[in-house]
């Protein structure tokens, strides 16, 4: 009963915290110039300096000034972000976009990292569960036939890397 009450308190506390954070987050201010900054950081300068358009400031850049003016003009004309990005991609090529789009083969660029992470996470959890199940129920560890010196060395390393202040080891 005591545990259930504690759990209920934790759940309610978490809900209250999430609500409070949501309220705080929704108080965010608006910034009229942020679109230029945002889009400038989603486009590359085409002069070959490998910098984002919003950050390219090297001496004598022949492209970034004109491209920034074009960006300002497109924002002022009321086009959406997607339309502006498409306009630049059509004019300068897809390499002007600083990241792959979410369409066609480019979608693979975005999906693969998360798919690999998910698969690796699931694999790790399964592995840990299998190893721990094997340990506790099915495969009691047999006495090691390793060299006693190696066992002693491993024990020494264990002592060196273990805190000794973990639970059960408190002096």
């Amino acid at each position: 009963m005591k545990t259930r009450n504690r759990l209920s308190f934790l759940v309610k506390g978490t809900q209250a915290l999430v609500l409070a954070l949501a309220v705080c987050f929704s108080l965010g201010a608006t910034d009229a110039g942020s679109r230029f900054t945002d889009l400038g950081h989603r486009l590359m300068c085409t002069c070959g300096c490998s910098q984002l358009l919003g950050e390219c400031n090297h001496v004598g850049c022949p492209e970034s000034g004109r491209e920034r003016d074009e960006l300002k003009g497109l924002i002022a004309s009321g086009q959406s972000d997607k339309e502006i990005l498409n306009w630049f991609a059509a004019k300068y090529g897809a390499t002007m976009l600083a990241a792959p789009t979410g369409e066609g083969f480019n979608l693979v660029a975005w999906i693969a990292p998360f798919a690999v992470f998910a698969a690796a996470l699931a694999g790790t959890i399964l592995l840990v569960r299998r190893w721990s199940v094997g340990r506790t129920h099915f495969a009691p560890i047999e006495p090691s036939n390793e060299d006693p010196a190696a066992v002693a060395r491993r024990e020494k390393i264990r002592r060196e890397t273990e805190s000794g202040f973990d639970e059960g080891n408190q002096p």
């Binding site: 954070l21 987050f25 108080l27 965010g28 201010a29 608006t30 910034d31 950081h41 989603r42 590359m44 070959g48 300096c49 490998s50 910098q51 984002l52 950050e55 400031n57 090297h58 001496v59 004598g60 897809a94 390499t95 600083a98 990241a99 792959p100 083969f105 480019n106 660029a109 693969a112 990292p113 690999v116 992470f117 690796a120 790790t124 959890i125 592995l127 190893w131 721990s132 094997g134 340990r135 495969a139 090691s144 060299d147 190696a150 060395r153 491993r154 390393i157 264990r158 002592r159 060196e160 890397t161 273990e162 805190s163 000794g164 202040f165 973990d166 639970e167 080891n169 408190q170 002096p171």
Partner: protein, 687 residues
């Protein structure tokens, strides 16, 4: 000197080849016990001596190149292309690695140094060192073959010898460039050593985990060099490229980061093998992959597969690297398949929530991060191959994909050490996690209270959101580590009667490896706080006439002069800016633009004023051609100094971890003698 250098390289190649063949033959004879006309032990020793002599030969070649730079020997093409008479002395040294041939020679020379030290200390374990030395000789043969046949640094200039050279790339004429590449190369090349030991130990079915203990110092020192090299590169990019940032997810930056990630994973996961006999195959493959990634990095940048602002030399040696990587991979796979029974691990865990599991998840996240970066770096090539369109994979991709993974890794940095080995309980979790959790959520609330908003215009502001998460997790992790120190020091303090500071020192000395590791984690936390500051960068740009002013944050910059200078190496223009804060003059800055005379290339020299709070970073963008007045761009970059401070802590922690722990028995007896406190509990607690 060109003939002497070339000759030294040929001799070095012959000696490395002898080291490889004789070493391999001797080890084969020892392994099979076949009778031979020469004692295999003596043959192995001649191979080792050939390796030492090879180092002398490569040193002679490196000396010849440096001598040629300093004596302006423009009959050598490499010197003509990468140096000139007016180049300052320190930068003449950096000419050694500013081009393809020179940097390969540096690689071979550093490999020679590592091999030299390894061969001198062979008595530690003669047989294992013989295997490692032979494998390193194999690597050396590759680099020396490339130097002799594909990228000779002493190739003579065809035609009339010019009076002066083309000069060093202006981007490289910066103090950090004298130490950044050698550091990075020491890191890259250094991973050859644990690789050679791992492969050698597997080949000879070396019993136990002693090879890990043997290579631990090598791996940590190598990791330290690579870390320092990466950070020095960041600082160079920050101070020289003039865009106000330090990391642009450039392919060359990525190439250095990938082996760092796998190397870091290796440093963590070997503890599982040392302590539990687990993950033997995993560790072997981690170090194999780390070594292969160091080669891949060189391939990516040298073969022109990807373009980069950091790549200063490209050529056709890519095919050599591809062939070598294929051979290395084939040898690794073949050896692993043949000897995998030797790597049978004692896999047993008692709980999903334990220190052991946290190491597994740590490896998972580090390897995922490595994959993401490799994927992003190679995707443009893949896209071009599959659909015929080359795309850019730049900062927005990595910020969206890699940054969350990095923050999760940071969280694990704090969670892992708080979990006990074997298994944990609710009581233990509550005891260890309550204070860090409170610190974490308090930071979130403080951030919101001071006006940091993760939403902007009704949508998520990615930069601010990540910054809040990074600050909060960093403070949580810092609190967790601090509580570990305090808990341990408290116990010692009770037992010995020493004050908390002395107890903390004793705690660290008794377990340098563990607490050195924690100090490294604190360094990482400080670095992350510094990186998170980038979300709040501000900048202003303005054309400044005499006594015109530009304000950025709390600083006001007044143009008090605009002048020109010149020397034998370059012409420069710079603005003199008085900087005011709260109406009082604080200091003067002089951002500069140089035009190097030989190459006629312009270069920005940024003026930076660093404080613990932020950097005032001022760029002179050039003079307006119509008005001839300077255009100044000023950035206010919060917390950048924390990144470099974090590196210092990280280096300090690594040194601590490298120092052997004192014997706890002696320490406790010594510490407790005056106060006559019973020693038995301390022996238990200090382990």
């Amino acid at each position: 000197m060109a003939a002497f250098g070339s000759f030294a390289l040929i001799i070095a190649l012959a000696l490395a080849a002898y080291n490889l063949i004789a070493g391999a033959l001797a080890l084969r004879l020892i392994a099979t016990g076949q009778p031979a006309r020469i004692s295999p032990e003596r043959l192995a020793d001649t191979a080792r001596r050939a390796g030492i002599a090879g180092f002398v030969a490569i040193t002679a070649a490196a000396f010849a190149l440096v001598w040629s730079v300093f004596t302006n020997d423009f009959s050598i093409t490499y010197i003509m292309e990468h140096s000139n008479r007016a180049l300052p002395g320190a930068y003449k040294f950096s000419a050694l690695w500013s081009g393809q041939e020179g940097s390969l020679l540096l690689w071979a020379w550093l490999l020679g140094i590592y091999g030299f030290v390894l061969r001198l200390t062979h008595k530690t374990d003669v047989k294992l060192y013989a295997y490692a030395g032979t494998i390193m000789a194999g690597i050396q043969v590759f680099f020396l073959a490339v130097l002799n046949f594909a990228a000779p640094p002493f190739a003579l200039y065809a035609g009339a010898i010019p009076d002066d050279g083309n000069g060093l790339n202006p981007l490289l004429q910066y103090p950090e460039m004298v130490i950044h590449p050698p550091m990075l190369y020491l890191g890259y090349v250094g991973f050859s050593v644990p690789f050679a030991f791992a492969l050698g130990a597997l080949m000879m079915r070396y019993p136990g985990e002693k090879w890990i203990k043997t290579t631990r110092v090598w791996t940590m020192v190598t990791w330290l060099f690579l870390t320092a090299g990466i950070f020095l590169g960041m600082h160079w990019a920050y101070a020289v490229l003039g865009w106000g940032g330090y990391w642009g997810w450039d392919p060359v930056e990525n190439a250095s980061f990938m082996p760092w990630l796998t190397g870091t994973a290796f440093l963590h996961s070997v503890m599982m093998q040392e302590k539990k006999g687990m993950m033997k195959s995993w560790n072997v493959w981690l170090i194999f992959c780390t070594f292969l990634l160091t080669l891949l990095g060189t391939l990516l940048t040298r073969a022109g597969l990807v373009s980069s602002v950091h790549a200063f030399a490209q050529s056709s040696i890519g095919n050599w690297f591809v062939a070598f990587m294929v051979i290395v991979l084939a040898v690794c796979i073949f050896t692993y398949v043949l000897q995998r029974s030797h790597l049978k691990s004692d896999h047993h865990l008692e709980s999903l929530v334990s220190r052991e599991s946290s190491f597994l998840f740590n490896n998972l996240v580090l390897l995922t991060a490595c994959f993401v970066i490799l994927w992003g770096t190679l995707f443009p090539i893949l896209s071009e191959y599959v659909v015929g369109n080359k795309v850019t994979v730049g900062a927005p991709f990595y910020n969206r994909v890699a940054v969350p993974i990095g923050l999760f890794l940071l969280l694990l940095t704090g969670v892992g050490p708080l979990l006990p080995w074997r298994a944990t309980t609710f009581r233990s979790i509550r005891r260890n996690f309550v204070i860090p959790s409170i610190a974490l959520w308090s930071t979130v609330i403080v951030c919101l209270a001071v006006g940091v908003r993760p939403w902007k215009d009704g949508s998520l502001d990615q930069g601010s959101f990540y910054a809040i998460v990074a600050f909060a997790v960093s403070i949580g992790v810092f609190t967790a580590i601090l509580s570990e120190f305090l808990r341990g020091a408290g116990v010692i303090s009770k037992q010995t009667g020493k004050n908390l500071f002395s107890s903390t020192l004793l705690l660290i000395r008794r377990n340098t490896r563990r607490y050195g590791g924690y100090i490294i984690h604190i360094g990482v936390v400080i670095v992350v706080i510094g990186l998170a500051g980038a979300a709040f960068n501000r900048s202003e740009e303005k054309e400044l006439g005499l006594h015109d002013k530009l304000t950025v944050g709390p600083y006001t910059l007044e143009n008090v002069g605009f002048t020109q200078d010149s020397n034998l190496n370059y012409d420069s223009e710079y603005a003199q800016l008085d900087v005011y804060k709260d109406g009082k003059k604080q200091f003067q800055m002089a951002p500069e633009k140089r035009v190097y005379l030989v190459s006629n290339q312009p270069q920005t020299m940024v003026a930076i004023h660093s404080t613990i709070e932020w950097d005032l970073y001022v760029v002179y963008e050039g003079a307006n051609p119509d008005t001839q007045q300077p255009i100044i761009k000023a950035f206010l970059n919060p917390l950048v100094g924390w990144i470099w401070a974090g590196l210092a802590i990280l280096v300090f922690g690594t040194f601590i971890a490298l120092v052997p722990s004192i014997n706890p028995h002696t320490a406790v007896l010594r510490a407790s003698a005056p106060s006559r406190v019973p020693t038995e509990p301390a022996l238990k607690g200090g382990h």
